[in-house]
Amino acid sequence: MSCSRRDLLKNTFKATLASALPLSAFKMLSPAQVKASVGDSNVRWVFLVNTKKCVGCGLCVKACKLENEVPYDPPITRTWVERYVVMKNGQTHIDSPMGGRDGFTDSKIRENEIPADEIAKGFFVPKLCNQCEKPACVQVCPVGATYQTKDGVVLVDRTWCIGCGYCIMACPYGVRFFHPVYKVAEKCTFCYHRITKGMAPACVQACPFGARQIGNLKDPNDPVAQIILNQRVGILKDEYGTKPQAYYIGLDNNVR
C-alpha cells in the first residue's frame, strides 16, 4: 500500500482529532478544585462580631488554640482580641498581648501606665479570618494549595502548600502564619470541621457574652443574616477590595 504525502497529512490530522476529542471530555482539576466543588452552594458562611459585647476575656483565643491544635505558647494565633484605648487628646493605644489569650488584666499598655482620667473611650475588637469573597491569599498561591470552598470559607491544603509565604504577605488583615509543626500556611477556617457538621466554631461556643456569632448569609431566616441585612454593620479595610465577610457591630474609626 502506498501512502502519499497528502494521505499521510490527512491521516495524521484525523488521528490527532480522534485522540483529542475523548481527551477534551476530561477536565484537569487541581486537588483544591475537587475539594471546593464538594461544598454546599446554598450556604455562605459569615461571621458577626459585636464589639460592644466583647470584654476581652480571651476565652475565644484559648478555645481556638486548643480546638485547632495551634501551639499554645508561641505567639501565633488564628484569632485574637485587640484592646483600643483612645485618649482625650486623640492619641490611640492598641495592644494584644499573646493575642489577648490570657485576657487584659493589666491596665498598663506596653509597660506604660495609662492615666485613667485622660481616657476618652476604650473597647475590645476580636479579629479572625474575614473569609473574603475575593481573597487575595487565594489569588497569589502559586500552587493552588489554598482555595475557597463553595460555602465561602478559605482553606489550606496542608499536603500541597510549599510554604513560600506569599499568601501571608498578601493578606491585608495579617491572619495567616506558618504552622510551627506542619510548616505550612495556617489560618482561621471558621472551624470548618465543626460548622459543616452543624456545630458552632470553638470561639463562638466559648464566648460567654455572645460577642461572636456565625451565620449563613444565603438563609434569610438566619438571625445573623438578618442583622447583617437589616442593621448597620461595618467591615475591616474595605479599601483592599477583598470583600471581607466578617461583619462588625460598633466598629470605631480607630480600629486598624
Binding site: 508561641p74 494565633t77 487565594v138 510554604g163 504577605m169 498578601a170 493578606c171 495579617g174 510551627p180 486598624r256
Partner: protein, 424 residues
Amino acid sequence: MAVEHIVAQGAEHLFVHGLDWTTKELFTYPNEFIYWSIQIVMYPYMTGLVAGAFVLSSLYHVFGQQDLKTIARFSLVFSLALLPVAMMPLQFHLQQPFRGANVMFTPHFTSAIAAFGIVFSTYAVIVLSEIWFVYRQFFVDQVNVLKGKKETKDRFMYYLYIVLTLGAFDTSDGAIAKDKKAVKILAGIGIPVACFLHGYAGFIFGSVKANALWMSPLMPVIFIMSAIVSGIALCMLTYIIIMEWHKWSAIIAKGKGDEKVHMIAGAELDVITKTSRYLLGFLIAAITLELLDLIFRGYTAMKSWDILRSVMYGKDFINIFLLQYTLGNLVPFILLLIPGLTIRRVFFALIFVLFGVFMMRWNVVIGGQAFSLSFAGYMHYHMPIIPTNLETYKEGLFGALTVAATPFILFWLINKVTPSLEFK
C-alpha cells in the same frame, strides 16, 4: 490543660518562622513577622544579575556593538553560571523545599510566582541554545584536536565535546553563517525574555496590594533597570578581576624565570570605558524611576504615607538615603563621570554599584515589612549571623553567602568546557 497541650506537641522544638529575627515596636498584629528575609533579598538580586548579564551580551550580538565584543562572550557564559542560582534562594526560603516542584505540576496562574517555572525554563533554553551556537565551532575544533589522544582526561574531554556538538560537525562557511544568524535571533528573543524574567520578579512585589511600600505599577520597571545595572556591573567587575589575575600571574611567572610565558595586557581600559557608558545610562533610568516613585508617594500622601514616611525618612534613613542612594548611586556616578577613567577607579565604582543595587533590594524586601499592616507599629529585622539550626543557616548570613558564592564556582566549572576569556 494548657500544659498538656504544649507537651503533646513537643513545644520545646517548635520553631515559629520569623520569631528568631523579628523584633516588634508599638502595635503589630500577633501573626506579623519578617516572613520574607535575606533569601528573598537575594532572589531578585540574583535574577537581576542573570538578566543584566544576558542583556549585556545581547547588546553585542543583536545591536552589533563591536566595542562590547570581548565582554559579550564572557557575560553570556556568566549568565549561564548565574542561572541555577536564581532558583537557590527560593529553595532555601521554602518551608517545604521538597514540594518546590509543585509550582510546575499545578501552576495556579492567578499567582505571579506560578509563572516562574515557565518563564525561567524558557529563559534557560534560550541561554543554553545561544551558548551552543556560539561555541559549536569550538566544540568541533576540540573534537578534532583531541582525536586519538590517549590520556584519560583527554579521552573524557573528547567524548564530552562529541556529546556537546550534538552530532553537528559541519563547519563550512555556510553552516557557520547559520550559527551566527541563530545567535542573533536567540539573543534578540532573549532580551525581552530576560526583561520579563526580572520584570515579573518586580511584579511579584508590586502586585501585593496589602503592602503599602511594594504596591506600585513602577515596581517591575524599576526592577528591570536596576537588574541591568547590577548585571553589567558584575560582568565588568568579574572581567577586570580575571584579566588582572591573568596579567599578574603571567608577570609573576616571568619573574620566576619562566621565559615561555607571554605577557598579557590585563583588562582593557577601552572595553571597560565603553561598557561603563551603558552602565551609566541604565543607572540614570533606574534612579529616575525610583525617585519618581518616592515623590509620587509623598505628593499623593495616601493613608499609608504617614507610616511609610516614618520608615523611609526615619528608621531606614541610613539604609535608603546614605547606603543606597548616596553610596550605591551617587558616588559611583561621580567616579565614572570624572574624566581620565582608570581601571582602579572603575573597580571601586562597580563595587559601590553592586552594593547599591543590593541595598535597593534590601530596602524593598525588608523595608516593606518594617511596618505593621495596622500602620500602628514597626518590625525590625535582625539577620541571623551565627546559625543555631538549619532555619537560621538558610535564612541567615551564611545562607546568603552560599547563594552569592555559587555562581563563581559554577562559572569556574563551565569555563573549563566553554572558555569565555582566552577564546577571541
